[in-house]
Symmetry: C2
Subunit: 330 residues, 2 copies
Amino acid sequence: MATIKDIARLANVNIATVSRAFNRKEMVAPEAYNRIMKIAKELGYNPNPLAQGLKGKKMKMVGVLVPEIDHSIFAGIIKGIGNTARRKGYSVIVCNTGDDPEEEKRFVEKLTNKIVDGIICSAALPDSPYWEDLSNSGIPLVLAVRQGTKKVDSVAADYIRTCYDATSILLSRGCKSVYFINGPLTVKPYAQRNVGFVKAMREKGFSDAELRAFNLKDSTYSYSLECIESLIAQGKAFDGLVIASDAQTMAALRCLKQHGLRVPEDVKIIDCGGHGIVGMLETAVSVVEVPGEKIGEASMERVIELIESKDKLDPKTILVESELILREST
Amino acid sequence: MATIKDIARLANVNIATVSRAFNRKEMVAPEAYNRIMKIAKELGYNPNPLAQGLKGKKMKMVGVLVPEIDHSIFAGIIKGIGNTARRKGYSVIVCNTGDDPEEEKRFVEKLTNKIVDGIICSAALPDSPYWEDLSNSGIPLVLAVRQGTKKVDSVAADYIRTCYDATSILLSRGCKSVYFINGPLTVKPYAQRNVGFVKAMREKGFSDAELRAFNLKDSTYSYSLECIESLIAQGKAFDGLVIASDAQTMAALRCLKQHGLRVPEDVKIIDCGGHGIVGMLETAVSVVEVPGEKIGEASMERVIELIESKDKLDPKTILVESELILREST
DNA sequence: ATGAAAGCGCTAACAA
DNA sequence: TTGTTAGCGCTTTCAT
């Protein structure tokens, strides 16, 4: 690995001049500059980021925390983050926290040590105690998808709207008995979807007693399958299903098929907050699609903005638009 | 951020003693040790990895290159990598190369600069020129899923076997006309699947002229849909489909349904090289499942082994077993 | 426009 | 056992 020292020697200049050539080329004589650059290229020189970082320079690196990297929404977000990272010359360090707050904390501590300039977090909990510490400590933090109640920068989808729209579609299609299959309310995006569902139903004149929201304790395929199964077994009659996630949508489709219920003739289905895949199923499912990739891109743009800004910016929340895609399930 | 200097001052010892307390505690007096550690804890001290790295210490960081982070196989691999990374105290830097060799090269150059101790790569091309350079340069490289022809460490699924098994299942179920829907042969795992398909067919006495392998130029859902569609439109008669990937499986299912073909009565289907999701579809699909997460774990274990080993280890290829899961599509 | 030199936080060889 | 010191590669003030 060549260093500025090598270049300096070969170019007959001081190491400071070499450093200047890379950082403030206007301060070095053109001839010297060219000589230095030529030699640098020949040697395949690249500045050592460790040394630069030690000297206080930004490392152009941001840490990313996700609960489960293989859930489509997070994979999409990471992809988006990577897109703008590349565009802006940043690197990305990823950690899969497995939704474990302890792990999350350990990771943040590890990263905080100067090695990242900023952090993007899809947190385990609605609010984590270290968020504020972090943004006070000078290293910017932005929350992706999961907003905090505290004053922290965040990029989110408008899940209330998303689910409100989805529910409205079903109602406008003539559904009389719409059930809502949701995830745990402790997770903010699910809680928000619930709000949207309730809002849409009330507006159409349904009383609270008529609301059928099933906020399952987890949103996995297998557990959802079980629950929907038991719903049908109990003879509940529904002609519309608003569903919170892709896995749950697949579970519903499967259940329905096994019980000979046709989509959309017997039951209409819409996914509120899906990510692409449900359009590829045997029966193409309508969806209010949450643009993970866009969320990732926006999050990254925001951290970079925070990192590179001279003065502290006021925290803000960026809302990313969802897209309604109507397919054969409605 | 506290440094060893601060601790040294407060503990009335030299900075070297503090450093020793952290790195070779046996060389420092117990009383001093305790004093130092107590103060370190109070100050929330953490060693600055940049300084350590600059001094030549390993950064405990590995770079990961994937072509598309949101394809299930790669998401799984990254998850596996993260699993063992956490267990061993390593960090992971991820880059989505978008299957662009140029991008890949840039990224490797960037990483090579001392900041990572090793690289795991799911490469764009069957062979990249820098692979050998890299392993010669002293920073270990392991290939995940895509093996090279050159002598490089790699972790791979046995795709030949995988597809051989899948094809054999269909044949043993009495299929007379089995078609193979595959991806581009320029991508090694697809080429290997092709070998497995051909092998199984030949063993059952099919002549080369009877082999129906469709090695599509890309394996996306939409393109595959188009191709399978045209196959059916041309009136090709098949009663079995061996399919190389999840997206293609979904495409096939959809096509078949639209043409009133029933699975498995009219056509039997098996996915050779899927990753979980096809078991959750309306018609649960049999699959020879490639364990992405395990591949990730094994890759990471191998790089760490290479990183931490004193002497150069001989490159080896680790084969990860696939699992056959029979469901209703066969 | 360029050089000399200090120092970022840490480790390790050498001295005491 | 502990302290002194050099130096990793780089940036940046202060001289020249």
